[in-house]
Amino acid sequence: MFSKKTLIVVAVAILIVVNVLVLSISGNRRFSFTGPGGVIISVFGPFQEIASRSIWLIKDIWRQYFYLVSLAQSYEIMENALGEALERNTRYTEVERANTRLRDLLDFQRQRPNQYLPAEIIGKDPSPWFKSVVIDKGSAEGVRKGLPVVISKGIVGMVTETWFHYAKVLLIIDQNSAVDAIIQQSRARGIVKGKSADRCRLDYVLRKHRIEVGDTVISSGLDGVFPKGLRIGEVSNVIPADSGVFQEVIITPFVDFNRMEEVLVVISPPAADGEETAASGLPADPEKP
C-alpha cells in the first residue's frame, strides 16, 4: 500500500514528535532528575573553577590598571560627594532612629538576620536557551536545593541542584523560574517569570492596578523562598490588555547577569514552611497567583 520510502519518512516524523513530547514532559517535571550527572559535575567542576579563576585574574589585572588611571580623576569628585553624603547621613541617622522608635511602638518583630554564604560563579549553562550558573559551594558548605541566591543589587535565582562542593543555580531570567513579587509603589502582586534576553515579565497583575514604567519590583516573601523586600527589577514596559483580568508587565532585572562574578546564597531562608515549596523546585504555582 505504501512504499518503503514513505514508511521511513512517517516513522522518522513520529519518532521526532515522540522525542520532543517526551522532552517537553521531562521539562515540566522541573529539575527532578539529577542521577549520575552529579558525578560529571564533581569531576568537571574543579576544571571550571580553575578556568574561571584564571580568566577573572586576567580581567582583574586589566581592570585594576584602568581603575588606577581613573582613580586620580575621580578623587576630587569623590571629595565633594563625601561632604554631601555626610550631611545626608546625619539626616538619615535621625530618620533611622525615628523609625526604630516607631517600630518598637508598633511591637514589630525584628526579622531574624539572614546568613549569607558567598560563592563564586564557575560556569554557565552551555545553551543560550536556558539560564543557569554553577557555583563553587555545595552541600558540604550547607547549600541546599531551594535556597535563594542574591547579590547586593537584587535577586539572582534559586539553587536547583547541589553536589558536594558545587551547586546549580536557576536564574530568575530562566523561563522555569518564578518569584512571588509586588510592585513597591502600587503594592500590586504578581509572579515574576523569566522571559528572555535578560528580561522578566510580571504575570497575573490585575488590570485595576496602575503600573508605571520605572516602578520597582520587590519580592513579596509569600513564596517561602525569597525573603521579603529583595529588589528584583524595574518595570520597563506595561502592555494594558484590552480584555481579560490581567495586564502584561515587562521587567528589567537590577542584576546584570552577564557581569555577575560572585553571589550570596541565603543560608537561612525566611520561613520554615517554605522548605516544602522550595524542594518541589517551583517557588510558586504559576496557575494560582
Binding site: I16, N19, V20, L21, V22, L23, S24, S26, G27, N28, F31, F33, G35, G37, G38, I40, I41, F44, F47, Q48, A51, S52, I55, K59, I122, G123, K124, D125, P126, S127, P128, W129, F130, K131, S132, V134, T160, K168, L170, D174, Q175, N176, K195, S196, A197, N258
Partner: protein, 171 residues
C-alpha cells in the same frame, strides 16, 4: 585510544564553552562546540565508536544544562542518525561539504530546542530573538565549523602517531 582523544577534546571544548566563552561578548552566538567533535566522530568513525561518544557527549551537556534532561542527548542521537544516513549518499569527507554539515548540525540542534519549547505548552516560550541567534550560530558554524573539523582530523592523526611511537618505544 580514540576514546581518550574524544574525552580530552570534549572536556576541553565544554570547558571553553561553559567557563571561558561567557566572559566574552561573542558568547551568545557561539554555537555548541561539541557539535563539530560529535560530527567528526559520526562521520569519520564506525558506529561502535561514534555511538558511545554521542552518548557521553549528550550526557555531559545535559548534566551541565538546566534544560530538560535528554535534550542534548536526543539532539546528538538525531545528528548520529542524520550523519549516518547522509554518509550513504554524500562523500562526507569532502572539504567543501563539511562546513555545511556542521552548520546543519547547529541548525538541527537549535530547531530541536525550539520545537521542545514550542511543544511544552504554556511552560516555556521560545525567546523572541531566538530566530536571530539561530541564524547567527548557524552562520558562525558555517564559517568556523570546517576549521574545527580539519583541526580534529589533524589532531587525531598526530595523536595516533604519538601513540604508535609510544608503543614502539615500549616494545
Amino acid at each position: 585510544m580514540i576514546a581518550i582523544f574524544f574525552l580530552l577534546n570534549g572536556f576541553l571544548l565544554t570547558l571553553i564553552q561553559t567557563s571561558l566563552l561567557p566572559h566574552f561578548p561573542i558568547s551568545r552566538w557561539a554555537y555548541d562546540l561539541l557539535i563539530p567533535l560529535v560530527l567528526y566522530m559520526i562521520l569519520f568513525h564506525p558506529l561502535r565508536i561514534s555511538l558511545p561518544a554521542v552518548l557521553a557527549a549528550g550526557f555531559l551537556m545535559d548534566s551541565l544544562s538546566v534544560g530538560p534532561f535528554g535534550v542534548y542527548l536526543s539532539t546528538y542521537l538525531w545528528l548520529l542518525a542524520a550523519g549516518r544516513w547522509l554518509s550513504r549518499f554524500l562523500h562526507t569527507g569532502n572539504r567543501l561539504l563539511i562546513p555545511f554539515l556542521i552548520a546543519g548540525g547547529v541548525l538541527l540542534e537549535n530547531l530541536f530546542f525550539f520545537a521542545t519549547f514550542l511543544l511544552s505548552g504554556r511552560v516555556l516560550e521560545p525567546p523572541p530573538d531566538a530566530m536571530f541567534w539561530i541564524f547567527e550560530q548557524t552562520f558562525g558554524a558555517l564559517i568556523t565549523g570546517g576549521i574545527f573539523l580539519a583541526g580534529f582530523v589533524r589532531l587525531d592523526r598526530l595523536w595516533n602517531k604519538w601513540i604508535a611511537r609510544l608503543s614502539e618505544r615500549n616494545t
